[in-house]
């Protein structure tokens, strides 16, 4: 599934995001050029997903509006950082998360199996975007979460790993 990069970037910039802190996967990767808009939308690259939540936290404390963008495998990796930022520091950092194998019927991929149960366990509101014409869900969900002062996740459904 190819999601149009420029449309994603426009949605995020239009939603007021200033920084995308990311470690991409193969579905999010093609968005790289579009997400790098100096002065409008800054792209911050990390070496490990756990860093992303903390850099976003620092940006938030400094008055910016950051977004974390990682794959669901990175969601698992970064659990302690997420726990700390969202629940101890109580910072409403939103995220776009690549949902590996979500579009593969009966996929045995454990990354797919655990993604939604994990978000539910953490009590994080999320929506799933499964087609390009559903991208408008991103802006709506992040606006609702911002209004409520809470974090939120948009899962981007992907095909095979």
């Amino acid at each position: 599934m190819d999601y149009p990069a420029q449309q994603v970037a426009e949605i995020l910039a239009g939603a007021g995001f200033t920084h995308v802190v990311w470690l991409p996967d193969s579905a999010l990767g093609p968005w790289e050029r579009a997400l790098h808009q100096p002065g409008r939308l800054e792209l911050v690259r990390v070496c490990r997903e756990g860093e992303a939540w903390l850099i976003a936290a620092g940006l938030h404390l400094g008055g910016k509006r950051p977004l974390v963008m990682i794959q669901n495998t990175g969601l698992f990796e970064s659990g302690d950082a997420l726990r700390n930022v969202l629940f101890d520091l109580k910072l409403p950092i939103p995220a776009v998360i690549g949902y590996r194998s979500a579009l593969v019927p009966n996929s045995p991929d454990s990354a797919r199996h655990f993604t939604e149960p994990l978000l539910k366990a953490w009590g994080i509101d999320y929506v799933v975007v499964s087609r390009p014409d559903e991208l408008s869900k991103m802006a709506d969900h992040f606006a609702a979460c911002q209004m409520a002062g809470k974090p939120g996740v948009v899962l981007i459904a992907e095909g095979r790993m």
Binding site: H19, V44, C47, R48, E51, G58, L61, G62, P66, N84
Partner: protein, 208 residues
């Protein structure tokens, strides 16, 4: 147990090493974590102090980097431990890649996990008795790198080190504060509710 006998390392006392920074600090943000979060509040009560407690161990440099990117005209100093740094060596590369110029990362290397009672880090059990954090920083791309293991040297050169072009990396070899077998002898004390501390910090940062 093979490999657990470290070679003697010259180390400076931890509190006086922190005091050097406290004496030099003006209007920088200072992010503390773990051991430094326990001791720094005894030396400094500044609105731009951010005690990262409760923490995600190893993540303080990333938090400081985010603040530095948000506030490029404000210097940010992160006081990290060696155990914390070992948990996330990749952040050295992340800092360099970010192009942040207003960040100083200081690693206090005592070779142990102090808050859990003094167990050796993996680095301390290498045959060399430690690892070269400064060398790692240079390899990651830091150009302003200094390391000190004598207090007199640190006292003499700290000001000029903080004046080097950023980002800066400083490795300080320090003595453990506590090597008790009783893990409760060295516990982090809460500096107060996190929500209130963050709100105060954000307010101070916003007007600075």
């Amino acid at each position: 147990m093979p490999g657990t006998q470290s070679k003697p390392v010259t180390r400076m006392p931890f509190i006086p090493a922190l005091q050097v920074l406290a004496d030099l600090r003006t209007d920088q943000v200072v992010v503390t974590t773990m051991g430094s979060a326990r001791e720094w509040p005894k030396l400094s009560q500044h609105p731009l102090d951010l005690h990262y407690i409760p923490s995600a161990m190893g993540q303080a440099p990333a938090l400081g980097l985010g603040i530095a990117l948000a506030k490029p005209d404000r210097e940010v100093i992160v006081l990290n431990g060696d155990g914390c740094q070992l948990m996330n060596l990749g952040v050295l590369v992340t800092i360099i890649a970010s192009r942040a110029r207003n960040l100083t990362l200081i690693v206090f290397d005592n070779g142990i996990y102090e808050v859990t009672g003094g167990q050796q880090t993996a680095a301390a059990t290498t045959e060399r008795g430690g690892i070269d954090f400064a060398g790692m920083a240079r390899a990651a791309g830091f150009e302003s790198v200094r390391s000190f293991n004598r207090l007199s040297d640190w006292q003499r050169d700290a000001a000029s080190t903080l004046a080097l072009p950023g980002p800066r990396f400083v490795a300080l070899s320090v003595e453990p504060l506590c090597l008790s077998e009783d893990a409760t002898a060295y516990q982090l004390e809460s500096p107060g509710p996190i929500a209130e501390r963050l709100a105060r910090f954000q307010s101070a940062l916003a007007v600075s």
